[in-house]
Symmetry: C2
Subunit: 336 residues, 2 copies
């Protein structure tokens, strides 16, 4: 299949770029030192590429992601790095033979895990991002409570998400050290083998976690690109010009229903020699200016501003190598 035969809008993965990204990270964080976060790509096909690169343990954000990974035979060690109250479905996955660990940060989430039949937990420690996680000083008592409930406490996790997109990387590294000092202190109180945290944006400056929770590096987006990391853009929205107005703009057939907007507009893939500037996106359109000579029917490659929620909008990833479409990977971990 050739690109020209693909109905648009279509979400593309540049196969060689994906392979480069997976190999680059596997060299930096080999085997269990990386716990790839499936929320970024939501496809068991990409998870299998990561297994082939040596990573057997995965991180999930939703119960559905855990269920689908386990059903696909990828349940060696699944961490739901999030609090849940309806843990019955997780317990059912564990009963079917997968190893399931869940994050807890309160009495209620500990009770839910135990009642739901989950056997292993991490104490989720807040390390600066105003989101989930207990105060570092409360980790020990939560671990004690969890153990008293019969749960195995494997260690701690703490996500420095507020530091993920700092472009001043020296300042970022200093803040990551402070943030992780809180996690290391909590770990000393809690015990266990696991100190889980980090992400694509701190993959080379977080030296304190035993396992890094990175996922976006596989596909990348224009927001992470600003950091100058050694990962290549592998995700594109292929769109087609459906209208050219004589006053100087064109319209493609991919819009905000196929692109996440929380990090702003998509960009135009510059390295392909394309020109122009995204003016605005509406539901099924992107209006582009500054591209004289454009013709109805031409392709425009857009780079999403935020990888995770862009992928979550699509049914399929089309794997390309140059102009050839070499595979179609279902995005099979969507929804909840």
């Amino acid at each position: 299949v050739h690109l020209a035969d693909l109905p648009t809008p279509a979400l593309l993965v540049d196969g060689p770029a994906l392979a480069h990204n997976i190999a680059t990270m596997a060299a930096a964080r080999p085997g269990p030192e990386l716990r790839p976060h499936v929320k970024a790509f939501k496809s068991t096909a990409i998870a299998r590429e990561l297994v082939a690169a040596g990573h057997d343990n995965f991180c999930c954000a939703t119960v559905r992601e855990v269920e689908v990974m386990a059903a696909a035979g990828l349940g060696a060690d699944l961490l739901l790095a999030n609090e849940v109250l309806d843990a019955d479905r997780l317990g059912a996955v564990a009963d079917r033979g997968a190893r399931v660990t869940v994050a807890v940060d309160s009495e209620e989430t500990i009770t839910a895990a135990a009642l739901g039949g989950v056997r292993e937990v991490l104490i989720d420690v807040n390390v600066g991002l105003p989101r989930c996680g207990c105060r570092p000083g409360d980790a020990a008592s939560l671990a004690e409570m969890a153990r008293a409930t019969g749960l195995e406490v494997r260690g701690v996790m703490g996500y420095e998400g507020h530091l993920m997109d700092w472009t001043d990387r020296a300042a970022q590294a200093a803040e990551v050290e402070k943030s992780m000092a809180q996690l290391v202190a909590a770990h000393a109180d809690v015990g266990g083998d696991v100190v889980s945290g980090g992400g694509t944006g701190t993959y080379d400056v977080n030296h304190w976690v035993t396992e890094l929770q990175a996922g976006s590096y596989t596909l990348m987006d224009s927001h992470y690109a600003r950091l100058g990391l050694p990962f290549r853009q592998a995700l594109y929205l292929l769109t087609t010009v459906i209208s050219v107005h004589p006053d100087g703009w064109l319209v493609t057939n991919g819009g905000l229903k196929s692109l996440a907007m929380d990090h702003g507009n998509p960009s135009i893939a510059g390295e392909r020699g394309d020109r122009g500037e995204v003016f605005f996106c509406s539901d099924e359109h992107t209006t582009i200016t500054g591209r004289p000579g454009a013709a109805v029917g031409q392709h425009v490659w857009l780079v999403p501003a935020h990888v995770d929620p862009t992928v979550a909008k699509h049914e399929m990833l089309h794997v390309v190598d140059g102009e050839r479409v070499v595979d179609h990977w279902p995005i099979d971990m969507r929804h909840w």
Copy 2:
């Protein structure tokens, strides 16, 4: 089923509010004076409610929406209010007995419609929004070209999307009049019975279209709510508090993968006595401040900022009447 039994995040439709909205619009724009836009709700179940209210003709934004509407027996008169180059699928729908009309604004889209087997078109006229549509003065020659290709030209369409969310409604009405004057002039050149345009935000000030293309009024969002229209909020994201931090914030389990962010953060449903303020959304979380006394396990109802792309993220609409869940409607017109 009771709300407490619904896994969260869950997209809810307030059944009585939906019925109120449909009845209010049907009184203002009865029968064929409204061509409801299915892109707002993407559910054939809601389309059936609209048929029951007297509207048989529908507006679509994607080929998939046309296909699913026709397959559901709702193909009396389907307008794809968008340009397409791969019109073969539309022709196939027409061949199976549905009435399919497509918007055209160029030689290429006219040729595509004819080659694809579509029989009827509208000339799409640009009336001020920098998106699709020809110059008003070019409508006549495009109509001539379409007729020469054997296509039936039913009339014109022109969407004044740039005027849809003006809160100064007197100023809005004046601009709509200017915008529609261009469409009316083009219609005089083109002929045919149809002058299609407008939307929820101009439903009561656009007096020039023969049929209004409104969809958002069925479910509404916090963005349209600012206009003070007589439509009630009918769409909510039901979330559950999964973490409460002693420093004063709480976290719910619905985030930007279940809420569109292009019009900004969601709001908290005030009429239910809920309190607090949305601080930020991440993939699967919303952090809320200013809500003392919140407890893990409580529900928080969020109001999406933009209805159409929020609905497109979900598999199912759960219809509620008070605290009872009375129906489950598949969102069966997603993707492309």
